[in-house]
């Protein structure tokens, strides 16, 4: 037995050395060879940008495809696959000059044919894109040479550039469109990373596109999206070093993250407008005084702090960081006395109960709902809460407007028209009808002069701020947690897509 001990010891020591030495001497070098690992909060339904409206899809496809135009970190539209563009004939013709020397991941060159084929696929009813209507005014697409595209519109359309800069306008290769390629599970684009594999509900692997048109980018060998739905598990993953980047919508775990020296957290303003929506087609909410009373009863700062992890209060239907935003928060300050008086004036009986429907998968909205309930209780409005699952919320509340009150966040868009379209008509879930607002919104769509457009939208936002079909609560923050050695990670403003092109490992 005693003879046996020595070889075992020796093997153990050698083994330990074998493990330790490389990890000590090559630890820096070894780390940089690995892809950046980011948590994704759910499984995208498809990776075909034309077949979904899901943010999860565009968060991934941003790295695989490019668009003609893209928003810079400030939200200005800058060239991407198009080097430049001109408006002609008062905005009815747009000419794009395309970038030369760009290739798709399969090696074929990018030309004007690809742009034309992509836009035609988008307009095709069979594609079934939820964003298809945004392209309906494009009458004809001309490709005079491989590097020029001319779009002929039936009437000027101001939001079109923003549409072309959004994830769903990603350019697909023409020859694969003709071949009926399945972009949903095997995406091919011109983007900074090539698609490698996708294990549903588990992970998506992307590898570096070595011939990307932006010189010297990307800087990391790949991106690994890990699909982790539970936020607390994402936080633990970041703390233990199994993840490099996480994107959080609330501040609950902030103290733990800030305590850890290997992790840094960046606070970014989202483009969300958090609201309590009111069904204005139902009494007593059809009475403006009741809606005003409800607005006076809410302490917005408190709701933002407790339910959404902090934010900036707003007074109208636009997020606080948007260039079109106008501050109307002083119209309905917190004033419970006035709220009570307005309710009495409107003759709301004290035994009147309103039903608040909450989407139970969004924990922050459920928390906010309970806070609203108590704030409204204090001015004498009884609210009963009912939790529903997400699909029920979409069909009953958002589509059929079968509710009194609900709590939700409206995501941002690059162009104000996408947020405001249909408001003032009975097509929205608040059923707020206001012909003047509706006609202003329609008119602003076709005006190309930015100052003129802004004036129209300011008027719309003022009407909404006064008529309060919602309680406009505020724009919340999001928190991006990264390991200390990761730099250059960005989230595209409004679109919320993840940009890894400048990510570096130090």
């Amino acid at each position: 037995m005693k003879h046996m001990m020595k070889p075992i010891k020796l093997i153990t020591t050698l083994g330990l050395l074998l493990v330790l030495i490389p990890s000590l001497s090559f630890s820096r070098g070894a780390r940089e060879e690995k892809p950046v690992r980011m948590a994704l909060s759910g499984n995208p339904d498809t990776l075909d940008p034309q077949k979904t409206a899901g943010t999860l899809t565009f968060q991934v496809t941003k790295s695989i495809y490019d668009t003609l135009i893209e928003p810079d970190p400030k939200g200005n539209l800058v060239p991407a696959l198009a080097e430049g563009w001109d408006f002609q004939e008062g905005g009815k013709r747009i000419l794009f000059r395309l970038r030369r020397g760009v290739t798709f991941h399969d090696g074929t060159a990018f030309t004007s044919k690809d742009v034309a084929a992509t836009l035609k696929r988008m307009q095709d009813k069979n594609t079934g894109s939820p964003h298809g209507a945004e392209f309906s005014l494009i009458e004809r697409i001309e490709t005079p040479d491989p590097n020029t595209v001319v779009l002929h519109l039936s009437s000027p359309l101001a939001p079109l550039l923003a549409t072309l800069a959004s994830g769903w306008s990603a350019i697909l290769p023409a020859h694969l469109i003709e071949a009926g390629h399945d972009f949903g599970s095997r995406p091919v684009g011109t983007g900074p990373f090539k698609f490698k594999s996708w294990v549903r509900d588990n992970q998506i692997l992307l590898e570096k596109n070595t011939s990307y048109w932006m010189r010297g980018k990307p800087k990391v060998p790949g991106v690994e999206f890990r699909i982790i739905t539970e936020r607390s598990i994402q936080v633990q993953g970041l703390l233990s070093g199994q993840l490099d980047v996480i994107d959080m919508y609330d501040a609950i775990d902030l103290p733990i993250l800030e305590k850890n020296p290997a992790v840094k957290v960046e606070k970014v303003l989202t483009s969300l407008v958090m609201v309590m929506a009111m069904n204005t087609s139902r009494p007593p909410l059809s009475d403006l005084r009741v809606r005003q009373a409800i607005n006076h009863a809410i302490r917005k700062e408190e709701v933002l702090e407790v339910a959404y992890g902090g934010g900036i209060p707003v007074g109208t239907f636009m997020d606080a960081s948007d260039p079109y935003y106008v501050d109307f928060t002083s119209l309905y300050p917190y004033d419970p006395e006035k709220a009570r008086a307005l309710l009495q004036e409107a003759g709301v009986a004290s035994d009147r109960t309103l039903e608040m429907i909450l989407p139970q998968n969004y924990e922050p909205h459920v928390r906010a709902g309970q806070i609203y309930q108590e704030m409204l209780q204090k001015v004498g409005l009884t609210v009963k809460i009912r939790l529903v699952d997400w699909s029920t919320w979409i069909s009953d509340v958002y589509r059929k407007a079968n509710y009194d009150l609900t709590v939700i966040g409206h995501t941002g868009k690059l162009d104000p028209d996408s947020r405001l379209a249909n408001y003032g008509t009975d097509k929205t879930y608040v059923r707020w009808v206001h012909p003047e607002a509706a006609s202003l919104i329609t008119k602003a769509k076709s005006i190309m002069n930015p100052a003129e457009r802004k004036a129209l939208y300011s008027r719309v936002l003022e009407i909404m701020a006064r008529e309060v079909p919602f309680v406009f609560v505020g724009t919340s923050y999001r928190y991006v947690g990264t390991r200390k050695d990761i730099e250059g990670f960005r989230i595209q403003p409004k679109l919320d897509a993840y940009d890894f092109r400048d990510v570096e490992v130090r």
Partner: protein, 278 residues
Amino acid sequence: MRIRIRRKRQKIQKLFLFTSTVYLCFLLFAAFGSSYLAPHSPTIQDLNHRLLPPLTEGRILGTDDLGRDIWSRIVYGTRPLLIIGTISVGIALAGGLLMGILAGAMGGIVDSFIMLLMDGILSFPTVLLAITVVSVLGYGLGQVTVALGIVFIPVFARLVRAETKSRLTEGYVESSRALGTSFPMILLRHVLPNMMPDIIAQSTVTFALVVVIEASLSFLGLGTQPPEPSWGLMLKESRNFLYQAPWMAIFPGVALAATVFSFNYLGDYLSEQLNPIR
């Protein structure tokens, strides 16, 4: 040696029994006298005192994410718990008795049909069936109560049917029938009293199951609606604060586990004690 071990075991058993009974009596008291035990309202928020750890500022078990007192919420949570438990078991028992006696006493096609139905219900996993019934009836406490009652009918029906069948063939029933006693009278006098021990034991165990499933349904958002206190709902709300405020999860969890343990233990004990044959 053996005797000593057995004595020690009996001692532990007695201790468990005592603790379970005391705990259940306490639950009963908490349900009826919530306002005496709870120093705060279970639903009123105090946003300046959020996520307070236990034993601070007069909060025995701390506060939750909206500043509500956890101890008060647990105490008030006993009310829906016991009400749902009692009514669901009541529904299950009533339904089970009716079905079981019908099947056991009439036999033939009626028996086959009823038992086919019961087996059909039993073949679904309990929680899944409860979710299905709730989604048909709608969300809320009343609906959950009815759903859980329906789900547990087969358990009682099978028990009652078996008991009825075996009792009806016994000598004293035969002789009683020979003496001219009516059939309903036989059921009432001979059959029912004899199956009481089993029914009591089964009810206690079912009560524990109902408590767990109610908590699961509330956790899934189908049961008690916020801000009403329910242990399952409290566990659901605690999920996001596990690292920050573990007390939000621990206390309702412990209360739930202790309740289920107590009912189970009492059920086992009762079935052992009340049934001389075993």
